[in-house]
Amino acid sequence: MVLTRSPPKKMPRKAIREQRALVRSQILRATSANSPLPPSYYKAISQYLSQAFADGTYLKDGPPKADAPASAPPNPLTDPGAMEGMMAGMKTQMVMMVPQMIIMGWINFFFQGFVLIKLPFPLTLGFKSMLQRGVETPDMDVRWVSSLSWYFLNFFGLNGLYRLILGGENAADSSRDMTTPFAAAAAAAPQPGQAQDYNKLFKAERDNLEFSEGLHTWVAQDVDKRILQKYGRIPADGK
């Protein structure tokens, strides 16, 4: 896995700035209920951010133009960055396939021609090719299962059981490896396929900022009273 992973892509300044602008407002909002800042300072920062989000100051490509059409999300296939992300997923898949194939070949080699179990129920002839792979006898009852078939049945059939017993993200769950390369790429962290529309995110963040501004309380608002009570200079007010 380590070998196939491509090194993290370097982002230009503007992209980082765009990506982290949201964090900035989140930090501000996180403190709002017990803010270290007095109201005027908090408001100044909050309104600055809100204005910057409205104007698109933090957008990578600069503020959007008024007459530009609502931009469609860029096609992932034309963006070399996104393409690279997809290729990385595919590359990983390819390498994962190699040990699978070796194991399969190994099993094929050793267990060809053995009959392993007998099913307790009868089956129609159609299952013959599925259950008796590796044993080329036309006359044998379909209830007999060859070892190779039994291996495959278990290999694919036990995943559900594993997930049930061991939980969703367990190491024994091989169905993850079996998904298509595109699905794997899409599940990779920041969705290389579709670029985030930061403009929309920023617009949404403005509402959050406004909401937090209403919640803002300065932690030092009544600190004089608190100190005096703590040192027993004025009586505590019944709390």
């Binding site: 370097k10 900035r24 270290p36 600190v223 004089d224 100190i227």
Partner: protein, 323 residues
Amino acid sequence: MEVTFALQKLAAYKPRQSRKSKETFESGLALLEHGSYAKKGETGWDEVEKLALAALDQGNTEVADVRTFALSIYVTPPDAAVALYAPQRCLKILADKFPDSPRVDVLTGIRMEATERPEVVLRYYDELLEEDSSRAAIWRRKAHVLRQMGKIDKAVEELSAMLDTFYTEVEGWLELADIYLTCQQYTYALQSLSHALLLSPQNPSYFLQFAETAYLAEDIPLALKMFLQTVDMTDDDDGEMAPSDSIPSGITLRAWFGVKLLITEPRAASSSASQTSPPTTSNLSALDNLSTERLRTAYLDLKNESPPVAEGDLITALTALVK
């Protein structure tokens, strides 16, 4: 007491110099001599980096200033040449081990800052940034070099641009505030500090700094509240002693001192730029009593003699103690 005083002087001399760097330097040097850094695995390399920084810290001050050298004589100073030699060796070790590491690049830059002309270092940083424009550490060093060169306006510009991108660098905000302070731009300094406060609201020393800056900006009620907030955060009220029996020290003492100074100030109830409402008059006088009492307690503890009776004398006597 003497040694601490000398160390405090040292620390005041160069704000970024840590008092620990000498210790780090000495213990690290032994590590380097024995070559045992490689055996310690991942942490060993960290140690070498730290040693390089500490040695630079030591080497710099000792070469640069004879007076600091004389002051630090208490703790057997290492030879200045060794101090400048050690980072070179550390750098070589690290550069051999991690040829393309951005951290080693930064370290090389800092090493160059110690001996090269600032223009040369600046060019080095510019080259690195051209290669990859998103390296926060290099960007910050660049702003720092600009500041050292006296190009304050450029330094502020670079630093603000960097902080606009990498918002979470608390140190960067503090440095920006520091630059503004040296230019007497107290309002801007307050704004930079407010970001530092947002990023780490659990650190009382930022509150203290904010309060002191607010005092300089003549926003007295704001400063008063911030000083009190510092007191509230630092007095050890989780301990077994009642807060009124504890002895204020360190940052708490300094905050109490600030409270006292502000209350004696005639402008205590004046209007403030940040529209902070000052405490009520009765609360103010109670705070006045309380802060005097606190300061007396601290004085008694530090000096082992009864504090001066007159308030003015008490303040003067304490000025030297809370420095």
